[in-house]
């Protein structure tokens, strides 16, 4: 049994009395000790999936339209709110993209970590403070004795993100979701944060779901990768298999779109067009209007998920068409 199992999860945005699907039945599983990367462009539904797993879609315009999310064998979507809250920040935790705004500006960072410890662990204030110091050491915040008394705005972006991570791992979560954890940071800081996450995972043995728009970040950090496009996972495999044998034209297009820093490229092979608006229904394969290898079948029939190679699944009628 996987630690986290998402099955046919459907999410829709409620707008003007209509429900517009944004995540269209995605399934994946994450094991302990594993890092799953979910990559895709904005609007593909990757962050909403993260919020759905964490149970943070309440009070938003997003509705869960179907499917199941099982965590440690228990169904989350039908769980009582109190029971679910007992898991949040405890067995499962999340690190958000914006370290600038994700911490409460009026409380000292130490107190914000203490809060989550006291919520889920039966600790005295001084025990919680002691543990907070150790957590800040773990995430390599310099001079933790001073930093616990700092307010968020007194820290740099990288330090704030370390505090967010300390808060997330405070209760030894089995699942850590990192939603674009380094997007707002400089490359040198990004590298440190990603190394920290990998290091922590080794020590704690928890599962990580890393969500990013940056294929480079995903390629460097993840064991398995799921590529999302317009609410579906179009390709999924272990990182090694995926990048060695890219099979979906979208994945290939994404890779070709990124100007590499380690070699010269004269022209980028950009994916033409853009992601259709949410309220636009696309018959057949959602990617067909932008696909350079489109054929008639793609315009009418929605491709089902299938195995392209062992452990490498794909949603495409004509994978690796560029080879032929």
């Amino acid at each position: 049994m996987a630690l986290l199992e998402v099955r046919d999860l459907g999410l829709a945005i409620a707008a003007g009395g209509r429900l517009l699907p944004v995540v269209r039945g995605i399934s994946f599983a994450v094991e302990e000790n594993e890092t799953l990367g979910i990559v895709g462009e904005s609007g593909c539904g990757k962050s909403l999936t993260a919020l759905a797993i964490m149970g943070l879609l309440e009070d938003t315009a997003i509705r869960i339209t179907g499917g199941s999310i099982r965590f440690e064998g228990r169904e989350l979507l039908t769980m009582a709110p109190a029971e679910r809250r007992a898991l949040m920040g405890n067995r499962m935790a999340i690190v958000f993209q914006e370290p600038m705004t994700s911490l409460n500006p009026v409380y000292r960072v130490g107190d914000q970590i203490v809060e989550v410890l006291r919520q889920h662990r039966d600790l005295s204030t001084s025990e919680a403070r002691e543990r907070t110091l150790r957590l800040l050491e773990m995430v390599q915040v310099p001079e933790p004795e001073q930093r616990v008394h700092s307010y968020p705005h007194q820290l740099s972006g990288g330090q704030r993100q370390r505090v967010m991570i300390a808060m997330a791992i405070a209760c030894d979560p089995r699942l850590l979701i990192a939603d674009e954890p380094t997007t707002a940071l400089d490359v040198t800081v990004q590298k440190e944060i990603l190394e920290l996450l990998q290091d922590l995972q080794k020590r704690m043995g928890s599962a990580i779901v890393l969500i990013s728009h940056d294929l480079g970040v995903i390629a460097e950090t993840c064991d398995r990768v799921a590529v999302m496009y317009r609410g579906t996972i179009v390709e999924e495999a272990t990182a090694g298999e995926l990048f060695a044998n890219v099979a979906h034209p979208y994945t290939r297009g994404l890779l070709a779109s990124i100007p590499p820093a380690d070699r010269d490229v004269e022209w980028l092979e950009a994916i033409p067009g853009r992601v259709p608006a949410v309220d636009q229904e696309i018959p057949g394969c959602a990617f067909h209007p932008r696909c350079p290898f489109v054929r008639d079948l793609c315009r009418t029939a929605r491709p089902e998920g299938r195995d392209f190679a062992p452990g490498h699944s794909i949603r495409c009628h004509f994978p690796r068409e560029w080879r032929t």
Binding site: E41, G216, S257, I258, V265, A270, W322
Partner: protein
């Protein structure tokens, strides 16, 4: 070799942070601490650095959106930093800027035609509306947009399209120097590639000089002829693109390059 189009000499920019007072010291922040470089005709100089390195401030100072505290910028023989605002206005046609945020850089109340016609009338490049309209249609096609777009308002366009319109606004006045301040960093990867290709193509075709500011080393490598690496308001290293990437001399450049996540090549 002819004289450079722009010679920047010892540019310094300082910001005051917060309000000071008799009982509190006002802090002075050095955003740019003595930067010099040349941009030659037809050349793209990439300016790369992390946030707070002062790279954007240089671009904003050259378009006089920010006041320098020292230094000079000789553009075609005149020090544009020493001119009065009034005297600089005609020169604005020659030095244009592409902004980062395509959602904020277009006035939501104006149609695309109104936005694009503005510089034409200011700089007397069009005599009347019909001539302006022809030039706008031509420029929109140049940036890969349907000329019908001119009748619409910014909110009807996607981020990539708006950035194309922003580029059209710059190219329509036929500038000599374009300052591109993180022009693609707000865009999704697939759109970013389209816009980068467009900028590169337009630069090649028009031979305009460009100061291309970005935090993304891959992007800078793709577009620039020469590259300057900035850190804390100073240039730590400047040189030809391949020299910087293949044999970086400064520690910071090396650290920067080592931090970039490695990306597998796209299959062919």
């Amino acid at each position: 070799m002819t004289a450079p189009l722009l010679q920047l000499r010892d540019l310094r920019v300082h910001f005051r942070t917060g309000r000071g007072g008799l009982f509190r010291r006002r802090r002075i922040l050095e955003a740019v601490g003595g930067v010099s470089f040349d941009i030659h005709r037809g050349e793209v100089l990439g300016l790369v650095g992390e946030s707070g390195s002062g790279k954007s401030t240089i671009g904003r100072t050259l378009t006089r959106l920010e006041r320098p505290t020292g230094g000079e910028a000789i553009f075609e023989g005149t020090d544009i930093l020493a001119l009065t605002a009034r005297a600089f206005r005609p020169l604005r046609r020659r030095i244009q800027m592409i902004f980062q945020d395509p959602f904020a850089s277009l006035n939501p109340r104006l149609t695309i035609e109104q936005t694009l016609a503005e510089p034409l009338f200011i700089h007397r490049l069009a005599r009347d509306r019909s001539e302006a309209r022809d030039m706008i249609a031509e420029t929109l096609e140049l940036v890969g947009m349907d000329p019908d777009a001119m009748k619409r308002h910014p909110h009807e366009f996607s981020g990539g399209q708006r950035q194309r319109i922003g580029i059209a606004r710059v190219m329509i006045v036929k500038p000599r120097l374009v300052i591109a301040d993180e022009p693609v960093s707000a865009l999704d990867v697939s759109i970013q590639a389209q816009v980068l290709n467009l900028i590169k193509k337009l630069q090649r075709e028009s031979g305009v000089s460009m100061l291309f500011i970005s935090h993304d080393l891959g992007v800078v490598r793709y577009i620039s002829d020469r590259i300057a690496v900035m850190r804390r308001g100073k240039i730590v290293e400047i040189g030809d693109r391949n020299r910087i990437f293949d044999s970086p001399r400064h520690d910071y450049t090396r650290r920067l390059l080592a931090s970039i996540p490695r990306l597998p090549p796209a299959p062919n």
